[in-house]
Symmetry: C2
Subunit: 239 residues, 2 copies
DNA sequence: TTATTAAATTTACAGTGTAAATATACAACG
DNA sequence: CGTTGTATATTTACACTGTAAATTTAATAA
């Protein structure tokens, strides 16, 4: 008997498949994701999934895309939770706190995006670029605001070489030095929160096990101290 | 025919197996490491490997242990390359530069240690603890020297809760606040270099592709600026 | 020489992703 | 209504993985 009767033919099967995949990832880790396991859970045979995803990598890419969307939502929510002018610093801190909060809420999604957890899978950057750019737009946007207000400490920040950016910032930073500076600072900040959060999530920061929050907030303060200066209304009057 | 004649019975077969594993990892990535693949390369059947490693995880653990040793060697070499008193800051920077240099030389070993690349494998911390502690001893040692010289900026650094340290610092930091501070700073510094290096190695810092060095040295300077102060010989004379 | 041990073999099993051929339910058209 | 077409599943099959068990042989010790 091929193709059973439409007993309860769930309309949006791709979503159901992804849900099962997430459940499986949450329980057994992202690396032991199995098409057959998903099929088993859904009472379906494995090759049936191939009608919705050409291969396992396509499913993983769809999961990553969704994870980026979820991550980006939280980042933008955090940014929008501190609206209005004059509160740019609080806005930056809110996105910083939201970064760790989302990672702790969804450690497997975090590792799926920013880690290397799926064997032999290389993410198709070109396909993921839009949702990836959106997810960091909260950070780059807020940094951009601070820069426009003259609140970025004018250090000699190394700028990226645009010719090397493999389609990464073709749209957002073509030669514009301001944008490049903003992007550079965002990268430096990102690498710092990523360093701490990824170590915490993978349990490689043992002594702090239950109090990574204190260390993380210390790091956020340190980030602000490094890059931010208070706006100087009359910079020329200084000696 | 079982067990072929001792034609060229390489004495140290475990080492040869590990070499083949490294070669395979370098070519196809750590996630696609295969006992059968190793056996094929060595002209041997797969179960033969079980005489030297009880299972695949044991082989991975051995690889990780060796990687830690190699990493620790480079860290200690860097530390020892700037000997003598009065050069503690240069010593710190040397270990920092050696960190990235080793990671770029052995990206797969780096990801094997500090990443999550092998499906379903969880490292046996207890077994790896000694070689792991040794590998970070260059950093903690130098930080300790700077601390003893009063060159550590006395910030309110969050301390780890020893009761949470799952055997991590049982020997090195039992309640001693000085040691805990040093360990804390080492963790913060580690998370920063790890953040930058892991992003660079996994190609997630696209715009800087060929010039991660500049960004990294900027970060090292920033680290030093945050934690280090020049020694004050007469601190009480200040107003 | 004989017995023992160590190291490799063959065989087998359960699991994986995926390609190919096949069968059926459903929708549209004559 | 009957026929056809297509989407969606199934079954079957293949190559691959790690690993357990039994077996066979080379090297060593008694």
């Amino acid at each position: 008997m091929a193709r059973p009767t439409k007993k309860q033919q769930q309309a949006n099967l791709p979503e159901i498949i992804k849900d099962a995949a997430w459940r499986q990832i949450s329980e057994a880790g992202a690396s032991s994701l199995s098409l057959r396991g998903i099929a088993r859970e859904l009472g379906i045979t494995a090759p049936a999934i191939y009608n919705y995803f050409p291969d396992r990598d396509a499913l993983v890419t769809a999961l990553i895309s969704d994870a980026y969307a979820s991550f980006g939502d939280r980042q933008l929510d955090a940014m929008n939770s501190v609206p209005g002018p004059g509160r740019e610093l609080d806005r930056l801190r809110a996105t910083g706190l939201a970064y760790r909060a989302w990672a702790l809420d969804h450690p497997h999604r975090y590792m799926l995006i920013f880690g290397n957890p799926v064997p032999g899978y290389v993410p198709p950057m070109q396909e993921l670029m839009p949702v990836m750019m959106r997810s960091i737009s909260a950070l780059t946007g807020t940094i951009g605001e601070l820069y426009a207000l003259g609140m970025i400490d004018p250090q000699a920040i190394p700028l990226p070489q645009v010719e090397n950016s493999q389609g990464f910032c073709d749209t957002m930073a073509k030669g514009d030095e301001t944008t490049l500076t903003v992007l550079s600072i965002a990268m430096l900040i990102w690498s710092r929160v990523h360093g701490l959060v990824s170590l915490e999530i993978t349990g490689k920061l043992p002594p702090y096990a239950s109090d990574g929050a204190a260390l993380y907030e210390f790091e956020l303060d340190s980030v602000a101290r490094q890059f931010i200066r208070l706006p100087q209304n009359a910079p020329d009057t200084a000696p």
